[in-house]
């Protein structure tokens, strides 16, 4: 399999703080790759560095064989890579209708069949054209996240960066959004890079995962290995224990 995304020794520093400290991994085309870690572990910084929202100082990033550096990304990059953010309340423009939100990426990238694409995108995320002229405050949290996914998918990217896409949602809505993402991945043969603090979500959605701590990748394991508890890092074990809930000593 060819690698869709390849990162070597990526370093991001904020003043003297190393947010990412020589991170390397390869993600195959069509793979779903998870990144778990606690706050401050650098997992979100990693996605932001890939997307060009945070500049990396050292290391290399290549997407489908094409190299990128720092925070400069061309239009072709955003046709290939799109991102869905954690907080659907913060990631949608409050004064734009859903129509405007979906229109913008299409115009930027010079699409012409706008009408059909917007309708199709709304259908695909299960909302229908009745939602087209609403503002984001007229939507529930789950509906907003569906719009954010529609906006990411409307350019037909190959790689989706998902930064805690369901952690702001209720459990029952989380299940719906995860199902929607899986469906989209199957239909479009997408590559996922998914960040979450929830091992349950990652093991449900991904085939392989990296465990991050203090800006470093502690360990990369297959999800089956996690289920069989075949891993070496103590930190991975602690995360796994924590995900099983409270136990009275």
């Amino acid at each position: 399999m060819s690698s869709a995304l390849s990162i070597r020794d990526m370093v991001v520093t904020y003043e003297d703080f190393a947010a990412l400290d020589h991170v390397s991994f390869d993600i195959a085309s069509g793979e779903s790759f998870g990144i778990v870690g606690e706050s401050g572990s650098g997992k979100s910084t990693l996605l932001r560095a890939i997307a060009g929202l945070a500049a990396f100082e050292k290391g290399t990033l290549s997407v489908n064989g094409k190299a990128y550096s720092g925070s400069r990304r061309d239009k072709q990059f955003y046709r290939t890579v799109q991102m869905v953010f954690q907080d659907p309340y913060g990631s949608l423009h409050p004064r734009q209708t859903v129509d405007r939100l979906l229109l913008e990426p299409l115009v930027i990238h010079g699409f012409t069949d706008i009408e059909t694409r917007i309708n199709r995108a709304l259908d695909e995320v299960g909302l229908g054209s009745g939602f087209r002229f609403r503002y984001s405050h007229q939507l529930s949290g789950g509906q907003r996240q569906r719009i954010a996914i529609a906006r990411a998918l409307i350019l037909e990217p190959k790689i989706l960066l998902l930064d805690e896409p369901t952690s702001a949602l209720d459990a029952s809505i989380q299940a719906e959004i995860l199902n929607l993402l899986e469906q989209a991945r199957r239909d479009r043969n997408l590559t996922f890079v998914m960040v979450s603090h929830d091992l349950g979500v990652i093991s449900h959605m991904c085939e392989r995962l990296a465990v991050m701590k203090s800006g470093k990748v502690v360990e990369t394991v297959a999800v089956e290995a996690l289920e069989k508890r075949e891993f070496s890092a103590d930190y991975t074990r602690r995360l796994l224990v924590a995900s099983e809930g409270f136990r009275r000593a």
Partner: protein, 282 residues
């Protein structure tokens, strides 16, 4: 559960909380009833289920424009709704305390941690400053803060989320409340820190013999922590369960909530989703 001659710690009968809005009245809590002894009670529900408003109504923190009614809302037999505001204030913080979700917002950002704890103590007890400081330090130690002297003089922004929540617990427990309401006390914390904080909370609650109301969206967490769980949906309690009987839940909403969580080692694609029935909200 008996409590000597006092009867139950808390009696809630037909509690209703109504908010006026431009489009008419919205009932956030619609007839919740339960009694609480010295036990750990969990209240679980999704956003908008009324679980937090139930906790706030007991604590007396409902916004002024909202209307609260109940057949009974009594703490140790004393009517909470009818009592003068001054009496309610004395009760709040002294006998009934509340821990909120995020220490970043619930601690005073411009006052050192130690002073905030001393302030709580001095509001409710006649106590000298040096004695108050001694008790505050002892309390910080009880929530397993290693260097209480240092943390005493820090501002809230100088400590981590887990540490902040321990400070919050210390501040709430220092007057020895009989009832503690914890509203999502660990939801803002990292998973590994969550367990440490829950551990501390658990020990203090059982050592000091408090009643606890634990409010959360996380059904599994609540049932692993509490003796009994109320499941709320659309302002009502749809099911009451002993924590051990979680797997025997009858109501389709409770079962749906349990089912829709992705877990390690289960291979369910797609995940079962909740099919919300309008009659649940009746």
């Amino acid at each position: 559960m008996s409590n000597g001659s006092f009867g139950p710690l808390l009696t809630v009968d037909d509690l209703r909380v109504t908010f006026p809005t431009r489009t008419g009245e919205v009932q956030a809590v619609r007839g919740v009833s339960f009694t609480l002894g010295k036990e750990r009670l969990g209240i679980v529900g999704e956003s908008g289920s009324g679980k937090s408003q139930t906790g706030r109504a007991i604590m007396g923190l409902t916004p002024g424009h909202a209307k609260i009614t109940a057949k009974t809302l009594a703490f140790r037999g004393r009517d909470l709704l009818g009592m003068p505001a001054r009496e309610r204030r004395d009760l709040r913080g002294k006998q009934v305390a509340m821990i909120l979700q995020d220490p970043k917002y619930s601690l005073n950002p411009v006052m050192p941690i130690g002073r905030q704890i001393v302030e709580t103590l001095k509001t409710h007890e006649k106590i000298s400053s040096s004695e108050a400081k001694k008790r505050a330090l002892a309390m910080l130690e009880a929530v397993q803060i290693r260097d209480p002297e240092r943390v005493f003089s820090l501002y809230p922004h100088e400590v981590s989320g887990g540490m902040g929540q321990r400070v919050m617990i210390a501040m709430m427990l220092i007057c020895g409340p009989e009832l503690l309401i914890a509203d999502e006390p660990t939801s803002a914390l990292d998973v590994t820190v969550q367990l440490e904080v829950l551990d501390i909370l658990d020990k203090l609650v059982s050592e000091r013999g408090m009643g606890l109301i634990f409010i959360s969206h996380d059904l599994r967490l609540v049932s692993s922590f509490c003796d009994r769980v109320l499941v709320m949906y659309a302002g009502r309690v749809v099911e009451e369960l002993a924590s051990a009987d979680l797997s025997k839940a009858q109501h389709p909403y409770t079962r749906g909530l349990l089912n829709c969580l992705p877990t390690i080692g289960s291979d369910r694609h797609p995940l079962p989703v909740l099919d919300r029935k309008p009659e649940w909200a009746l």
